[in-house]
Amino acid sequence: MRDVAIIGAGSTKFGELWGASFRAIGIEAGARAMQDANLGGDEVDAIYIGNMSAGRFINQQHIDALIADYTGMATNHVPTTRVEAGGASGGVAFRQAVMAVASGLHDIVIVGGAEKMTDMDDDSINSVLNATSDAEWEAGMGLTLPSLYAIIAQRLMAEGIATREEIASCAVNSHFHGAMNPDAQFRKAVSLDTVLHAGPVAEPLTMFDCAPISDGSAAVILCPLEEAKKHTDNYVKVCSSMQASDTLALFQRESITHFNATRVAAQQAYQAAHITAADIDVAEVHDDYTVAGLMALQDLGFWKEGEAGRALLEGQTRFDAGKTAINTSGGLKAKGYPIGAAGLSQIVELTQQLTNRAGPRQVRNAKYGLAQSTGGTGSAVTVTVLEAM
């Protein structure tokens, strides 16, 4: 197996991109990443694309062919593969691309994620999101995806692992950073009161506990680590990218106050990178719901069970707090959540941080970065560790 590097990264602005179609959005981030890597296009050996539900959002299947075609790669007959794993689609696509380069099969690989959600009405969008849980035995019984996370939140509160205020403060942290990210959907800080008193979605969670509906894409370019310097000085090493699964339905788990898939993938990722959680300087975690972000900080080992909430509430998670900086991009909550793009957007942010190009939200002397991408209610999780070179 070869070591793998990221030599280019790019993201569109996330948000309600009314003027842009799926195919326009899908290729924009890839083009930016190619420019960042100083590549012309003919070098590309393979493309991977994370996309959850173009089939339902825009009634287009066969996204692989569409992306190959509109990136201009179909004329070179470049193999293109679409990956779906609910909210973890981007994370899993990234891991597939890393394995393709590590194995020696491909040298230059583009891996992107894209979603166009706003071409559909809100009611239908919610039914697509709910279908990342067990459609037969959860969504089909009237349990929405936010209500499943609310059920987790209620249990965390009942067991004394987190308070309502601590859970809500995850959104405050993400918005604090989103205000500094020009690509973020919401560039505005919010107060704890705003989160707590927003309209209820699924009690105890309000609208501000939930990531928004977004359009957008993000992409990175991979190559063998030993080739990276030929292309750019701004590259990072992929130390490890691990993936774990769990039951599709949340109610099938022994415990719902942590995600075993996150714990397993993290343990494997740390081991392969020869580091521990304490070595991570900057992390992007999957905060599609505040409660998911809080749990991730505990499952990844950054804070002990029962202590992540206070860290969020006290601002220990901010880019300049000197601990592990959390969601400096604004996270899914403030940067936005075009589902298939989320896992790649995290990698783009970490690449910027580890190459000292994150602007006003730069984490000082960041050496190790971690990304955690989650599908459904922790049914598929990827954990990736990157290192500054």
């Binding site: 037969e136 089909g140 009237g142 929405t144 987790i152 209620q154 249990r155 979605v201 105890p204």
Partner: protein, 135 residues
């Protein structure tokens, strides 16, 4: 989204009657039904037996839903619950015929058969278990 009738009737044992499966090797109970046991794996194939679950149990966790899509909109706001039934099996569903502020962890509930959804005016009506307060 309208479904063909077969998708409805093939799930009747679980959705109407809370029928799960029990592993003939280790005795562990599963709901919904599984073709084999995740603990005994190959050994359990062909040895999974139908197992009727007790309809009673207590609320393990809950939420009050204020935003929902499709047919469930007419119910808003409504309670959803995880219930640990009296076989110690976790179930998920709605809690109805209840004063919402009284819903709490630990309250006793019982599964009853209710209308879940309908495929428009001409389509089939979906039924399944929901929970009601037991005391």
């Amino acid at each position: 989204m309208a479904m063909v009738v077969a998708r409805e009737w093939r799930e009747i044992p679980g959705r109407y009657n809370l029928e799960g499966t029990r592993c003939g090797c280790c005795g562990k109970i599963f709901f919904p039904s599984r073709a084999f046991c995740p603990h005994c794996r190959r050994q359990s194939i062909g040895k999974m037996e139908p197992f009727p679950l007790k309809p009673t149990g207590e609320v393990y966790s809950f939420s009050i839903v204020h935003q929902s899509d499709g047919f469930n909109r007419r119910m808003l706001p409504y309670a959803v619950v995880f219930v640990k039934n009296d076989d110690s099996i976790m179930l998920a569903g709605q809690l109805v015929d209840v004063d919402l502020p009284t819903v709490k962890i630990g309250m006793r509930v019982r599964a009853v058969l209710r209308k879940l959804d309908e495929d428009g005016k001409a389509g089939i009506i979906h039924y399944a278990f929901k929970f009601v307060p037991a005391e």
